[in-house]
Structures are given as C-alpha cells and as structure tokens.
C-alpha cells in the first residue's frame, strides 16, 4: 500500500528516494522505539514477562524465516519446528564439545539447518501446495527420528543438556541478559528481511510467488529462488532453534512438536503474510494467547478435575484454531493489513481519502 509522505518531504538524491526512514521524526521515533525495545523490558519487567518476551522473540525469528518462504516466495513448509531442532542440536554440540563461541555456533546452527532445508526444498521444483506440505511433513518425521536415534550427539530419548550461552565476556545466564541478546538478534534478522524485500532477490521471490511461469519467462531462475527461499527460511529456523536450546538449557525431541509448525504457519497468516511486521504481530499474538491459556487452566481444572492433565493442550488447540478461523473470516489479509489501514487513516486525517 502506497503510504503518503508528509507535506514537504521530497527527494533530491536517489539515496533519499530509497530510504526507509525519511523524516527527522521517523528517525527520532525509530531510535526511541529501538531503545525502548532493547532497554525497557529488562528494567521494567520481572522474569516471567521477560521469559514470555524472549520466547516471543525466538518465535519472531522463526516466523520471519517462514514468512520469507511462504509470504514472499509462496512455498509452503511444515518443517519449521524440525529445522529448529537441527539448529538446536548443532549449536548445543558445537558449544559443548568444541567449545565454539556462542555467536559462531549460532551462525553454524543456522547454516546446518539451511543445508537440510535446501535438501527438503529440492522437491519444490516439481511439487506444489499440498504435496509440498506433505514432503516437508516427511522431513519433519525424518529429522525427529534422527534426533531420537542420534546416539551421543542427540542424547536420544534422554535429551541433551545445553551449556549456557556466553557472548565475549558476558554469560547470558539471566533473563535480562538473554532478553537483550534475543532482541538484538530479532532486530538484525528483521532488518535483513526488510531489506531483502527491497532488493532484486526480494522482487524475484515475489515474482515466483505471484506467477512462477511468468517469472520464468522474465528470466527469473525459479528453482534457484525457491531454493534460496528454503535456505533462508531454515536458516532463520536454525538460529531460532539454537536460541531456544541455550535458553531452555536442555533439549529433547519433544520440544519440537509437529503442531508448532502448524501454529507458526497459522499465526503467520493471522499476523499477515508478505510483510515484515506480520510475523511480529503473529508471534506476539500467539505467545500472548499461550499465556492466556496458561492463566485459564487452573480455573478450568478446578471446574473439571477429571481432565486436569489434558486441559492445557486441549484449550490451546481450541483457542488457537478459533483465532485462526476468526482471522480468516474477518481479516484474511492479517493484522498487518489492519495496521496499514490505521496508518493510512492517520495520514489522511482529517480527510477520509
């Protein structure tokens, strides 16, 4: 959606034309937002809220990756949780056994996941839509099977303890420190996604999404860009998985259930595909809803003592599904679209168009 600029903001250089932040107020506002996001929560929130935000941040990274694949390139994947697992096991082993610095291990985790992602993406040349989804579903089963039978490397059904992460002299052993690190990673990867969208590669991905035959006739190497999308998607998942591993400090194949891949997909749609803000909205909503369910469970358990054990999974399943259905009916273009409408009406005020 074309958004109008304030009056009197015009370009005299090409660099101004492509700038994301154009006015002084935008720059000041963005800097203030950045400071608030990085420094605000560790100062203001307790450890519970911080942990919710850390998990939200990790979810943003994972969903941002899925958005590059689904939102920009139009390819579906149900393997996001499994790619997270690849990243988690890679980083845990590299830091524990080879004593690799955590930031490097994070990068390696992303690369390992993206190599697997490339393999999974190969069938995308031939199969589309539902069939591609099934292929990635198979990848999920294979990866989790591998984790269960990986011997010492994966700890099989007993899981694996993960050493704490440290960046240079700082050990990320408190929620506040881990939050700041997560926020930095989220900002960097979001910044990358935002800029990718504005490059040749980003436009090629969109061309493949909108019509792959037309894209090919225009000289876009469809297969290469589909693989690029899978590569980036699983890279983000791998980084997210490694962040998860070092935050929870122990990993187990059960932490990467298939249903999470479904929720990533569903809440990406709720947040708004094909926009950088969509994953942010989707992640925050999903994590927020999980907190709502967690708050409801004790009450529901008191009312129905017989079901106490399955209440959490049952309630969350129902609530998430309801939210996704409601969103598809009421705002199929996602929360981001609503946000854009709000922004547009702000910019047109006091007129309507």
């Amino acid at each position: 959606m074309a958004t109008a600029r304030p009056c009197g903001v015009y370009s005299v250089r090409y660099a101004q034309e492509v700038a994301v932040l154009r006015t002084r107020w935008q720059r000041v506002g963005f800097a203030a937002l950045l400071v608030a996001v990085l420094a605000g929560p560790p100062l203001a929130f307790g450890s519970h809220l911080l942990s919710v935000l850390i998990l939200s941040g990790i979810t943003i990274v994972v969903m941002q990756g899925l958005n590059l694949l689904l939102g920009y390139c139009g390819q579906i994947s149900l393997g996001q949780a499994a790619f997270m697992a690849v990243g988690a096991y890679t980083s845990a082993n590299l830091v524990d056994r080879l004593a690799l610095p955590f930031p490097l291990a994070l990068l390696a985790a992303g690369l390992a996941a993206s190599l697997i992602g490339l393999l999974v993406g190969l069938p995308a040349l031939r199969v589309k839509g539902f069939y591609l989804a099934v292929t990635t579903l198979a990848a999920h089963s294979i990866i989790i099977w591998a984790a269960l039978h990986g011997g010492n490397l994966t700890g099989t059904i007993y899981g694996l303890p993960v050493p704490p992460a440290s960046v240079g002299p700082w050990t990320l052993d408190t929620d506040a420190r881990y939050y700041v690190f997560t926020a930095i990673v989220v900002v960097l990867l979001t910044w990358f996604a935002k800029n990718l969208e504005r490059t040749h590669a980003g436009r090629a991905l969109v061309a493949v999404r909108d019509n792959d035959i037309a894209a090919e006739t225009m000289g876009v190497n469809v297969f290469a860009y589909k693989l690029l999308a899978f590569f980036l998607c699983s890279f983000y998942a791998g980084v997210g998985g490694a962040m998860w591993a070092h935050y929870s400090r122990s990993i187990h194949p059960d932490q990467f259930p298939f249903i999470d891949s479904v929720w990533y997909l569903g809440f990406l749609v709720v947040g708004g595909m094909g926009s950088v803000l969509g994953p942010v909205f989707g992640s925050l909503l999903w994590r927020g809803l999980r907190e709502v369910v967690a708050a409801l469970v004790p009450m529901a358990a008191a009312a129905m003592p017989g079901f106490a054990g399955t209440l959490y999974s049952g309630l969350s399943l129902m609530l998430f599904a309801l939210v996704i259905m409601a969103s598809l009916i009421l705002e199929p273009r996602g929360l981001n679209h609503r946000w854009q409408l709000l922004k547009a009406s702000w910019r047109l005020w006091p007129f309507s168009h």
């Binding site: 109008a4 304030p6 009056c7 009197g8 903001v9 005020w349 006091p350 007129f351 309507s352 168009h353």
Partner: protein
C-alpha cells in the same frame, strides 16, 4: 560559451555593459480592454520590486516556491524571476496541471501564488473532502474550524483572543488544522498570494481560519507592485497597505494614482499611449478604489467597468460577482445592470460537480447539466446564495432577477479570457435575447442547448430556462412551490 572561450572575459564584458535602466523584459498587457501592448520593464524596476518584496514579507533565502503562473504574466516576472533570483527562492514547477495538488503536497512550498479561482477551488475541495468523511470527523473539524474562525474574527476586531480561546485554538491547530494543511500541501506555507480584489473576503477568512496566511496583492504590468497585505494586519476587504517605496493617491473621480520606482518605462513603440497613462508624474491605473484611514487600499473595479444605476448609485459588477462566486455551487456569474437598465440582474453558472453531488444527496434526479440547472430545488439553492450576497449590498445595488444558465461560460467561444475573466462585451452580445427577456419582465425564455449525453452522444435540446425574481427570499421560495 564557445565564443567566450575564444575571447576570454567577453561574457563579463557583456554583463558590465548592461545598465539598470535597460529593458529587462517586454510584458504584454492581458488585453481585457483591447489589443495587447508591450510594456517595457527595466532591470531597475524588477530589482526594486524584488527588494521591496523581501522587506515587506520577510522572504528568507532558498525558500521553496511553486510556480503556477505563466511567465508571460508580470506576476511571475516579479515573483518567480526577480524575487526568485534576488532572494533567491528555490523555484519549483508542477509536473502538469493535473498533478498540481500532489506536487504541491510533495514540495510543501513556503510561498505560492494562485489566482483567485484556484484558491476558491481549493476551498471547495476542502469542503467536499470534509463532507465525505464520517460524521464524527466532521464534528471535530467543525469545532476546530470554529476555534480558527473565532481567532480570525478577534483579530479582525483588533482584539486579543482570550486565554481560553488561544488554548482551544492551539489544540485545534495541533489536532486538526495542521494535519489538514499538511494534506493539502500548505503545511510549510509562509505566504499564499492572490492578486487584485478578485478573491472574496469569505474565501480569505476561510483560509485564515485554517491557518493559511493568504495575502492579497495589488499591482499591474504598468504600475508594478502597489499594495500587499502584511502579516498581522490583514483586512479582508482590502488589498493591503502600500508596497514599500510606492506612493498611492486617489484622484477626484476615484481613480488610483501611483508613483514609485516600480512603475514601467513605457509601452514599446507607443509613446502616445504611454503619455496618456501619466498625470503630473503619477501613473493612472485606470482602477477605481479608496484609501482607508488605516492606510489600506480598497480596490473596486476598473473605472470603465463601474456602472451607474438610475438613482445615481455607482456599483461594481465584479465586486458582486466575486462575492457570489464564493459559493461552492457557483462556478461563474455575470452581473449586469446600470443605465439604462433599471435594476441589477445576475446570470449564474452552476458548478456541475458540486451541485450534482448536492442533488444526489438531496435525492433530486436529473439527467443533463441543462436539466440540473433548471430544477426548482437547484434554483432555490442558488437564490439562497444570491440572498446571502444581497444582504451585504446597498439596496439599490441588490440583484433583482436571477437566471441560472443552462451552460457554462466557455473560453473557446470567447466568453472568457484564457485566465477565466469574463469578456463582458461578447457575453452581452451572446445573451442579448436572454437579457432582453430579463428586463422585459418575462419569466422564462426558450433556448436550444448543445448537450453531451453520458454515452458520449451529442445532441441539441430545446429547453426553457427560468428567470426568477429576487424581491426577497420568501417570494422566491413561493415561486418554486408554485411550479411544483
């Protein structure tokens, strides 16, 4: 450039040869009153205007200016060229007439010169766009504009607004008026100019209430700049106090006389015509006006355009036309009267867009422009506008009969000049039958009108157009009721 390389210093030499009293530009007069003549303006004149302008209106270097006046017109020679080079201004040009609103918004100029029509269009546009918003937005806008209007009214009375009003206005400005100025591209405007007295005082008030500093300027090709409004001293009925360096005197017959370094050097190859315009060293503008005690000049009209009613009252048709055109429903209007005619009458051209929208909202079905213009409801609407203007006029000069015309005035048919001024002579000629009917007491007259249907077909329809009496608004309404 090549020549100067061959002979170094040639360019500088040429510049040195120039004299301040050399002719800088030939400016052709607009030709509303006959054949265009070439007026010679010297460099000295242009520089004097630019310097006086900077002094009078606090022009800062490198302000953005959007040029929407043809350089053939002296205004652009003064503003875009002379002031543009002396101040200097960053002179911007719209990409095309159609993109003017967007370009204006993008540039956000500090100064802009629009003809009265453009300001009126802009005002109508703001009203239409507000009318299309949600009711709560309209209420907020009305409240904010109310605060703006009260501040303007206080300034007009010379009062200082009360603390409560100042606070209300600050809030209204921040929340509504500033954003609105931003949307229409006037957020960074320091001065909006318009020339002559062609703009209705109500239009001026409308913009000032929105926080747009719209200023009248008065001048001509021959006289240079004569008067301009200054910040904080704006009288909406006037064209402002004298321009710096300009002396103004009113002759016995009401003509405005001017003496200043900004007066032109003469008509090219026509010393006879030049001499005819000067009286004892004063340039006779041919315009009638009055100099108020506060030093503000009030412009009436061309001396030759002033009409005299049978009872001896002199009145200016343009004065009435300008005030009627403030209505968003009125696109053009010609006011006639004066000896030997016994009373004043008006031929009104409605604005098809705004009246059409009004008719849709009032659920009045219509087919063509001709049909729309003769609807009793539309005529009643126009009568209301005439009544509003009549109330502010001396009794003798009030409009007695009104015709809503079945077609627009057309520059292609020599009814308007290219700058959309009325060509009275040719209009009187073309509408002679109609005018005879108006003064003959008929209540309708048959015309044949060319129409363009929605599907593009063209045809000619015979229609009756009505001539309505404006004794007072009650009888006009009664007449409409009778027709139904």
């Amino acid at each position: 450039m090549l020549r100067s390389r061959a002979r170094p210093g040639a360019w500088e030499e040429k510049v040195r040869e120039g004299r301040a009293d050399d002719v800088a530009v030939f400016c052709y007069t607009s030709g509303t009153t006959g054949r265009p003549k070439a007026a010679m303006l010297s460099h000295r004149t242009l520089l004097a205007v630019a310097r006086a302008w900077m002094e009078a209106d606090g022009v800062a270097p490198f302000e953005d200016y959007v040029s929407y006046v043809a350089p053939a017109w002296v205004t652009e020679q003064f503003l875009g060229l002379a002031l543009g080079l002396v101040a200097p201004l960053a002179v911007n040009f719209p990409e095309s007439p159609e993109t003017l609103p967007q370009d204006l918004r993008e540039i956000g100029p500090a100064r802009v010169f629009y003809g009265a029509r453009l300001w009126e269009n802009l005002a109508a546009q703001i009203e239409v766009r507000i009318a299309e918003t949600a009711p709560w937005k309209r209420r907020v806008y009305r409240a904010a504009l109310g605060a703006g209007r009260r501040v303007v009214e206080a300034a007009e009375r010379g009062d200082r607004p009360s603390a409560g009003l100042r606070l209300a206005h600050a809030v209204a400005d921040a929340l509504v008026l500033r954003p609105l100025r931003d949307r229409v591209g006037l957020a960074r405007l320091r001065s909006g100019y318009t020339a002559g007295a062609a703009i209705a005082p109500d239009t001026m008030r409308f913009f000032h209430a929105h926080g747009v500093r719209l200023k009248n300027i008065y001048g001509s090709t021959e006289a240079g700049m004569v008067a301009m409004h200054r910040d904080g001293h704006i009288r909406y009925e006037t064209v402002g106090p004298a321009f710096p360096g300009c002396e103004i005197r009113i002759a016995e017959d009401g003509e405005i006389l001017v003496r200043s370094p900004m007066v032109f050097a003469g008509y090219y190859n026509d010393p006879e015509a030049t001499r005819a315009r000067f009286r004892d060293g004063w340039y006779a503008t041919g315009d009638a006006g009055r100099l108020g005690d506060d030093g503000h000049l009030v412009y009436w009209d061309r001396v030759s355009e002033l009409l005299e009613l049978p009872d001896g009252t002199r009145f200016s048709p343009q004065h009435i036309e300008v005030r009627l055109r403030f209505s968003p429903y009125v696109k053009d209007v010609m006011v006639v009267g004066g000896r030997p005619r016994p009373f004043v009458a008006a031929l009104v051209v409605i604005d098809g867009d705004t009246v059409g929208k009004w008719a849709e909202q009032a659920r009045i079905p219509y087919t063509t422009y001709v049909d729309l213009s003769q609807k009793p409801e539309v005529r009643a609407l126009i009568h209301g506008e005439v009544e509003r203007v009549n109330r502010a006029l001396p009794v003798a000069a009030r409009i007695r009969r009104v015709v809503v015309l079945h077609k627009e005035f057309d520059a292609d048919e020599a009814e308007l000049t290219r700058t959309r001024k009325l060509r009275r002579g040719s209009l009187e000629e073309r509408y002679r039958e109609l005018l005879d009917a108006v003064y003959g007491g008929a209540d309708r007259v048959g015309v044949s009108a060319a129409v363009v249907y929605r599907d593009g077909r063209q045809g000619v329809v015979a229609a009756d157009i009505f001539i309505d009496d404006m004794v007072d608004d009650v009888t006009a309404v009664r007449a409409v009721a009778r027709e139904r």
